[in-house]
Symmetry: C2
Subunit: 300 residues, 2 copies
DNA sequence: AGCGCATGATGCCCTTTTGGCATCAATTCT
DNA sequence: AGAATTGATGCCAAAAGGGCATCATGCGCT
């Protein structure tokens, strides 16, 4: 099989015109060149594609079969080129996106939707993971972008803040503090605290621990869960109280009350983070989008 | 788009080996030629397909997309060539086959099955038509082969007998002649005859008319139907009797009796007929099959 | 029948493409 | 530092592709 795409294109022209000179005109080459190209193709295939009388040609059944296949081949090559260029330009592609509970209950969904509208060809694939897991997966190239609990310092990565939220306390409705509306952190020193497992939630706890210490008590977690829904579930059934961020109001279940913390001004930052050396054009688009959009990001 | 199948094949080798020299070895060309071919491809696509460091190369996301498409293209071209050759050799193809009621209730189905077993790649497409319609469709090229009621004389066609059957009389069970088992044709002179419409069944009637005349009466059709099932239906409900051939025993419905004709030795021939100039390889196979198989064809 | 015309094929020659060889530049391994 | 390996480049030869002129054949017209 020594023929190429050129032979296929030439053959299509002849099969459609059933006339060498007209086909040659269409292809902008001289008729003899076309005659020879088709003859070469027939020799190469060892199949006669046209029946020639000196006055006219007709296509053989084998030629017809070949013709239909040629159309498909040329078509798929053209689509392939188009697709390849789009991937190169980042118009189509896939992004593996990691997110934490905190990120997903805040501004992330609307951010992703905005991006999706801008780049409908890019397939966004979200993966729920805690911060530490996301950082590992970014290193391994499994994730392209992570939405994690800051602060994070990683050489070779770029990042930007997409959300900054006050901490809040969540209690069950019948808790004595519930009617208060606000409270001071030190008032929780005697409470049972429900929170995430310490190895997985370490980024979150790295805020809570010094915060509680400043308020005069040591954070001690009485009940562990593995995600926000689990924590809230335990709180709702009276196992204790918890400390989360404002966006938890978007994920509340009945029976819970959110209380502002009067004496805590520190906020929890949710960061987008991605490799600085992103070769992938889709990644660059996403990075540009995040860097630009953060300017208008409303604080929650 | 100036690249050809060669570039695609070269690209596949490089993408699989991720190593120019090894890929060049595999392709049996020198490494510089391959380097240039890939560079040409990249220029042509205006897309970088590989990231090169002097020590190694990696494929870009666009390159990966292109690679997957290239595999499909090469595959489909190979299949296309294979298919085209098979059509050329007649191993695959389609045959439009006409048949009459008489043909289909006789040996035709088993003949077709034999042929299908010999050439599983050839798609047999049967079409029910009376003899005259089949002959028209053969002229128009709509049918490749007809199974018709003989005799037929057509210049430019070849034919062979596939079946020769005695005429029989079919009566309803309660008919006075039914218990007789056999009868002489002249005994039907007073009977109501049920048969096919005269314009469509003219080839069949061209046997019946002189036959009846020899027996001393004129064929007069009291009730017309448009196919064997219709004729038998009318006979069964007592509208008259009919004259068909032995193979009708394969298509009987309850309430009918078949009677041999003692004094009629003439037989009705079912012929296969096809254009002598059949270009199509499948047609040639079928013609060869019929010409050969007729030797062993048992008379019915 | 003879002529002109249209069609596809062929011969010759030039241009472009492709490939091989020697070599270079950059990086890695020892 | 030096050897080795890898992809890129320069240069030349071979092959493929294409244009032009021309040929052979069949068709239609007079």
């Amino acid at each position: 099989m020594r023929f190429g795409l050129r032979h296929i294109r030439y053959f299509i022209a002849v099969a459609e015109e059933l006339h060498f000179r007209r086909a040659a005109d269409r292809l902008c080459i001289a008729q003899p060149a076309l005659s020879r190209a088709i003859r070469f193709l027939e020799n190469d295939l060892e199949v006669q594609l046209f029946d020639r009388s000196t006055r006219s040609i007709t296509i053989t059944p084998a030629g017809q079969t070949f013709f239909e296949g040629c159309l498909k081949v040329v078509n798929s090559v053209e689509h392939l080129v188009e697709n390849t260029r789009q991937v190169d330009e980042g118009q189509i592609g896939a992004l593996q996106i990691g997110y934490t509970d905190t990120a997903i209950s805040g501004v992330l969904p609307s951010r992703l939707k905005e991006f999706q509208d801008l780049h409908p060809g890019i397939n966004l694939k979200p993966h729920h993971d805690v911060t530490t897991t996301q950082l590992d997966k970014l290193d391994q190239g499994i994730l392209d972008v992570g939405f994690v609990t800051g602060p994070v310092t990683r050489p070779g990565y770029e990042q930007c803040t997409i959300q900054s939220e006050r901490f809040v306390c969540v209690v069950y409705d019948s808790h004595p503090l519930a009617p208060r509306g606000t409270l001071r952190l030190e008032e929780l020193s005697g409470e049972s605290i429900v929170h995430g497992a310490s190895n997985e939630w370490q980024h979150f706890h790295s805020h809570l621990i010094p915060m509680c210490r400043r308020a005069g008590f040591e954070l001690r977690i009485a009940q562990e869960a593995y995600n926000t829904a689990g924590i809230l579930g335990l709180v709702a059934c009276g196992m204790g109280v918890t400390l989360l961020t404002g966006s938890v109001r978007n994920a509340l279940i009945p029976g819970l009350t959110v209380l502002e913390l009067e004496d805590v001004d520190e906020e929890l930052q949710t960061m987008a983070i991605w490799r600085a050396d992103a070769a992938n054009a889709s990644q660059s688009f996403f990075a540009d989008f995040l860097m630009h959009a953060r300017l208008e990001a409303p604080a929650l």
